[in-house]
Symmetry: C2
């Protein structure tokens, strides 16, 4: 899988390559702070749909957790569906989304 490396340093590139080498990983998306996919190994339509929804969901979840505990901070969200799993790892500048085949 070819990964666009426009904005990533070698460490990030290595990590992304390592994640994508896992046979169960269907694709990864790095979402920038404006909500657009920065680099992805999925097709652009799927990536755009994931970006829009997952970013909103992670913001909503983070706000909800902060309402329950002010010192709380969201680390990861895992969505398990019948056939796939999606992981969202929020960060200040970028969000990482990993889509996996369910094992």
């Amino acid at each position: 899988m070819a990964i666009a490396q426009n904005y990533m340093g070698p460490l990030a590139t290595n990590t992304m390559t390592r994640i994508n080498e896992n046979d169960n990983v269907l694709g990864t998306i790095i979402v920038n702070c404006e909500g657009f996919p920065e680099t992805t190994t999925l097709d652009s339509l799927t990536a755009a749909t994931y970006c829009t929804h997952m970013r909103n969901l992670s913001h909503h979840a983070n706000n909800a957790l902060k309402e329950i505990d002010v010192t709380g901070e969201l680390i990861i969200i895992r969505f398990v569906a019948k056939k796939t799993e999606a992981f969202v790892i929020p960060d200040h500048e970028f969000h990482l989304i990993v889509v996996m085949r369910k094992t």
Copy 2:
């Protein structure tokens, strides 16, 4: 922990008791289809906050997954924060929310 058993059959009551016996479980909430806590082992304010947010989040996530794959169906969402983890198990009539201490 005392659990209100208004609407639950013995099987559900046993399951809830088993979950609550786990030392890392801080509390459980059963949310009805109107979004109100049916039974909970948390205080009512925390339970209400979890109910409102987690139910919205699980609806949003389910719709997002259906937009990506029409046959997709959400089974569980796991929110991992610094100190706690929350699990939301959506169902047609009830949602189960489990809040755990992070191990």
